[in-house]
Symmetry: C3
């Protein structure tokens, strides 16, 4: 089953790739690795649930935001590669905008990790991960994530 | 001298590898590189010195926390690779939970860097490093770090 | 045109490479990739515009700080490699010390991205990017950035 077939079966449509906000590329390749730029929780060009976890943004909204950022990351990778077949997640780094007392970054980022697992399969979609809480993100996004992907030889 | 012999000579026992807190792998490999997931300052399954530098967690506690996170990172790498022989630190990224006025992240992270140097030797254990202060980390850990390792061809 | 000729034409002089603040190397190489350690916004050994965006440090000062950090990153890479010819930016990760309400990290980091584009050219100097807002950085620097470079086979 191709990734496109899997996404169709799940009823998941990748968004159009987001235009970079500034002077960078959405994704670059170096050898077998693809580096996807930091992706925000946007849908149709608007930030989903702007704000911070622990200060108005709920866990469920945070998970939804993480999922949206992961969809944007897949769209950026597909735009570079043409297809997501054979792509494996090496590492996901996720940043959650939050209050000092908020400590559930892993649960928020599962919204992204579950989407990647569903889209690419358990073997290819689950990689290493880093989960960090930060004070602020571009455009007020509650979540930002970047990906390192292995696209093979 | 193998890394196991060096650790034994130093009286350092690696902890059992920590189970991932959520949907990710503790470490992944891509070519000659190994990416170790974000490691918290846990010992026996409990966070060491939870809180933030500059707000109740002392420098000495922060350094001890960084050392514990580095031990967890080595345990995760060993679980993936079977052995730490031939492993070289490419980059350590360290996140220190802290107050806005706290600026001694490098000194805190030396607790991790000294452990890696002692465990792997000066040549292999000292790599590039990034030191960042953040508002919050999973489970209230005062330090989190991830590693990129080179395991050769 | 070599990078040295380009820099000379632009009137840009690379600073001497900054000595690591602690136990790490300024840059490491793994295969075709070079990892440059986190670089602060220093000039002549002093932090430029210490503090946080949204709390006393202006956008223009932030951009100038980002540019200074990028110059330090190029100096670190050149010290490792001998020359910047053939170097390509794979990814820039930029951390902006800021208040919770500050959301213009991308505009601040353009100060770094423009310098890299000018120094290395559009093709090689513009890579993937991650822009994050954080609560504090070493030595009070308003910006820190790290680079992953591709130096070819």
């Amino acid at each position: 089953m191709t990734v496109a077939q899997r996404l169709a079966a799940l009823g998941i449509a990748l968004p159009p790739p987001a235009a970079p906000l500034a002077l960078y590329r959405a994704a670059t390749r170096a050898g077998a690795l693809v580096y996807v730029s930091g992706q925000l929780a946007t849908r149709d060009g608007k930030v989903l649930h702007p704000g911070r976890l622990g200060a108005g943004v709920s866990m469920e909204q945070g998970r939804e935001a993480a999922r949206a950022a992961a969809l944007n990351a897949l769209a950026a990778a597909q735009a570079l590669l043409g297809s997501l077949d054979g792509v494996r997640v090496v590492r996901l780094t996720g940043y959650v905008a939050c209050e000092p007392g908020f400590t559930e970054q892993p649960q928020v980022l599962n919204g992204a990790s579950e989407l990647l697992r569903d889209a690419l399969g358990e073997e290819a979609g689950v990689g290493a991960r880093v989960a960090i809480g930060v004070v602020a993100l571009p455009a007020g996004s509650p979540v930002e994530l970047d990906l390192i992907l292995d696209v093979g030889a």
